[in-house]
Structure formats: C-alpha cells, structure tokens
Symmetry: C2
Subunit: 324 residues, 2 copies
C-alpha cells in the first residue's frame, strides 16, 4: 500500500490523500518511485468540474520525475535505478506508472524538481512550435499571453531555436521580468494598434507563428499581424471567448494556417512518436542550459492543497512542483 492524492470531482471538489495499492506495471510500463511532480492548470480544471464525471475519484498529477523501481516484461531501454521523467496519470504519489515509449531519461545533472517541470509543458510546446508550427530560426514568433505556463515555455523554446519573440501580457511587471528570458519585443495584450505594432516591430513582415493562449478576443488582430504563410496555434481561451471571427479574405490572401492544440487528446502512439524528436532536438538545449526550466516554488507532497491554491492565485512565474 502507498498513499496517493486523489481528487473527488464534484460540485464540492475534495483533494484528499488516500491509501491505495502500489500499482503493478503492464508489459510496456515502468513503475517509478516518484521524487518530484509538476502541477498544471489543465488538471486544475478538474476542481471546477470541467473534466471527469461528478462523484468519481481520480488520481491527479500529470507529469513527474523519479527512479525506475520495476519494468514491464516487454520494456527495453530502461532498467531499475534509471532516473526518468514523463507523463503519468497520478504523479502525486509515492509510486506511479509511466508508459515506457513516452518516458525519457533525465539529463545528467538536472535536479528532480527541474526534471518534473519538463515533460508536459515542453512536449506540448515542442509539438506546437516545431512539429505542427514548423518554426524556423530567424522567424518571428508572437506569443499572446506570454506569462502563462505555455507562454513562457514558448518564449524559452522559441529563443533556444533561434526565433525572435514578441510577447503580449496584461501585466507590465511580467513583461519586464520576461526580458531576462530574451523577449525581443513586449506589447500590452489589448494595445489599440496591436497589429500595426507587430508589423512595425517586424519591419512590415508580420508574425510567422502565433501562439494564442488568450482566446477568441485576440483572433482578428492576430490575423492582421501575421506574415504570408503564417501559422496560428490556438491553445487556450482564458478570455472566455470561445468563438472567433475568421476573416477568410485574409486567410486566403496570406495563405494562413490556424490549428488547435490540446495534448490531452493525442493518442498514446502520437505522443510516443514525438519523444525521439524531443530527445534529439530539445534535451540538448536543456543539457547545455540554453533552455532552463523555471521553477517558482517547491512544496512537499503533503502540501498539495496549498500548492494548488498558489497555482490558482495566478501569482506564479514558472512551475509549481511537489517534491517527495
């Protein structure tokens, strides 16, 4: 038996530590002794009843890092004692299961807390910027809501890949803090002449790739701010505007692409297929420290509720981590 944080999804949401059996790995799974787990806003929606059936308990914690304790019968490439990081269903526990094809070896010298902050947000960001967004060195990346988790990761990965980055935020203080991460151009999210400002900052070229974490309210301005053959990734809607006005004339004339991102719904096979490219293209950037995970605060595993309260406060800059 081990203790495990479970979430009751109901109108009265409850986060509770319960005793459950240590799981047994399936043929392609790893049993991992957890050292650190990352918190994400996505699972946080659970507490607002947006995911999961009411009245059911659900293990939470979607990513973490730890030591391999046992491997399934068909697993190759991992053995007990390996330091690993990856996605999982239930990271806030002493032991959890990871799918071997979606798990990575932790780079030498990387702390557990840093490793736990990588798998989810950087894999989503890599998929969005590189696999789907085809970002190339020298291009202009525009990040709407650059101070969010995915926003900061987009800025970091974009810069590490050689892009020039324009970021928007409602907070001047956050924009100032992001200058230290290499933000080239800072704009207020709802600047009245937004598209014109982007065009000006890019010498009339426009944004080659837009990451929109804000939602539908930014869409029309984003299209006007885009370069010929630009791509727009829509990844959130914190503004609550779920419908966007799509100007087909602009879409045709500039040959624009718009795509929706949600890592949750990718298949296991698709997620696994992205891992080798992530290992080859992103882990070296972490190893040579051109890309550094940003951890805002580490809580002990027992204080999961306080950690979630901090995430909910929106006062963080970087990841919140639970440490075993």
């Amino acid at each position: 038996m081990q203790s495990y944080w479970m979430l009751m999804t109901d109108t009265d949401t409850v986060l509770e530590r319960r005793d459950v059996p240590v799981p047994v790995p399936g043929p392609r799974q790893l049993l991992v002794r957890m050292h650190a787990a990352g918190l994400n806003r996505g699972e946080f929606l659970l507490t607002h009843g947006l995911h999961g059936a009411p009245g059911t308990w659900k293990a939470i914690g979607g990513e973490g890092a730890g030591e391999v304790a046992a491997v399934g019968a068909e697993v190759t490439g991992f053995r007990p004692g390996d330091r690993v990081m990856g996605r999982c269903a239930g990271a806030f526990a002493d032991y959890t299961l990871m799918e071997a094809p979606e798990t990575m070896i932790v780079p030498d010298g990387l702390a557990w807390e840093d490793a736990a902050s990588i798998p989810l947000v950087f894999l989503v960001t890599f998929d969005m910027l590189v696999l789907q967004g085809r970002l190339r060195a020298g291009e202009w990346l525009l990040v709407n809501g650059v101070s969010s988790g995915v926003g900061v990761a987009s800025l970091q990965l974009g810069k590490a890949l050689g892009a020039r980055v324009i970021g928007t935020s409602g907070s001047a203080a956050k924009l100032e803090a992001l200058a230290s991460l290499g933000l080239d151009v800072a704009l207020r999210t709802r600047a009245p002449d937004f598209a014109q400002a982007v065009m000006g900052a890019t010498d009339g070229h426009g944004a080659d790739l837009v990451v929109n974490t804000v939602g539908g309210s930014m869409f029309a301005e984003n299209l006007r701010a885009m370069a010929f053959e630009g791509r727009l990734a829509t990844v959130g809607h914190v503004d609550g505007v779920m419908h966007a006005d799509l100007d087909l004339g602009t879409l045709h004339a500039k040959r624009l692409t718009v795509f929706g991102v949600s890592n949750k719904l990718r298949t296991k096979e698709q997620r696994a297929a992205a891992i080798p490219r992530f290992v080859a293209e992103v882990l070296p950037l972490i190893e040579d420290q051109s890309l550094r995970p940003i951890v805002d605060r580490v809580f002990p595993l027992e204080e999961a509720e306080a950690a979630y309260a901090l995430v909910e406060s929106d006062a963080t800059f970087g990841k919140v981590i639970l440490s075993a």
Copy 2:
C-alpha cells in the same frame, strides 16, 4: 510580331487581340509555341475589375501546353521541340514564356487540350490535398462545392490517391454526373442535418480533410463534420460570406487545422519546389489513366470571348480550352 489576347481592366472591360513582339526568354525561361491554353475562373475575376489596376492592359491565360521553341542560357532539362505544359502569364497567344523550374514534360500520348487543362488546377489541388492537407489512402475527403473546377479535381485526385470522397453541390444533376467519377457519397450543400449526414456516412468518424470552395456559410457545419485531427482547406467564397465563425472549443478538442489556399500568391520558389513531387506522384496517375483531365469544350484561339462567356455561364462541367 505575333497576335496576343490582352485584357483592358477597367469598368468597361475589353478583351482584345493585339499585335505584340514575340518575347525573348530570360536565362531560366522557355519560349513556347502554344498549342492549347486553359481558362480559369481566377483570371476571370479580371473582367469584374477585382484584379489589376484600372486602365492597364494585361496578358491573360494562366496555363497552357505547347512545343519549346527556344531556351534561356541557364536552362537544363529542356530543349527545342519538347512537348511541355505549365503556368505562364499570357497563354492566349502564339508564343509565351514559361519558367523552366515550373514547367513539366507532357506525358506521352496526352493530347494538347488535355495537357493544357492540368497545370493550374491540378497543382493547386495537389498542394491543397497532399502537401498541405496530408491526405492519406483510406481517409474521408469532404468536398464542398464538388462540381466546381477545384472541386472536380479534388474528387478526381482524392479518388486516385485512395481516399473516399463525400461531395456536396446545390445541383442534384451535377451530383449524379459526378458518380461516374467515383463520388462515394453525394449530399446537397445546405442539407439541414449536414454534419449529422457526414457523420452517418463515415460511421461516426467524420471528414479527415475538407475542401471548402463555398465559403464562410459552410464553416460551422464543416467543423462539426470533421474527424479528430481533421484539416480544412478554405479555397473560395462563392457564397460571398467572407467571415466565418470559428468555434475554438471544437478546434481544440478535435485538434483541427484550418488553412487558406491561393496559388496565385505562392512564391516562384515554392511553386517550383512542388513540381518534382507532382511529377513523381501525380503524372503517373495521369499516364495510367486513373486520373483523366475533363475537358468540357475546346474553342479556337480566335474565339476567346465566347469561351469566357461559357465559363461565366457556370454551365460547364470540366475545363474550357482554347486551341491554337
């Protein structure tokens, strides 16, 4: 000197045959003795004053086929006498220039009239379905406005590539005619339960790729009819609805991609880059006749005005060709 059809773009549009010098090929150009030229609705917008500066003359005819008469100093791979087909600026003439990197050898046995109907519509369609749309054998392709030029080419190329095709049209007669080209499922364009009908026809899977030649009025229904990770190409707006309602919730949840297509605005380099793949993947389908160009009617070059009138009437099924 040669005679050449030129268009006066003005409120009083005039299509007129004028005497102009035979052009001299630049270093990477071919001088082509034209045998046949294709008519396209795109250039037809000229006559409505939508393209081109008023009061200026412009050579028209965007594609054709003929014999190489002379080659530029840097041209390799072509020599005088070769049968070629390709894009050009001014196909309705005795001689025209083609860019060598955008020009293809006509497959053996293909008539001039058939060859002249290929370059523009099939290159746009190939770019849309394959290079951008990533259509795979066994997938469901939904073509809105399947009886249009791009619509019929999408049906033909989709079937030749092994896709299953659902087509919509406002005309029951046209839908019936398209059954002979392999249309799997025919739907009326504004059927009240459109998305449900597509879901039913695909056993609940939805359309993997949508070609929307109709415009903004079909957008919301199209999104509902799409499969997980579906792609939507928006390529026209004959309905005049230039703004579409984009439901971000659906875009995120199904990880959809929407992209705008307009071949005119591609760079010369991008068009040239598509040629080797077109030659390798599409020309063999034309050679083995699994893909056959559809020519509605051939006019002599002298009757360009009558040919345009036929295109404008929207009564055609397949291409209208001018023959020298």
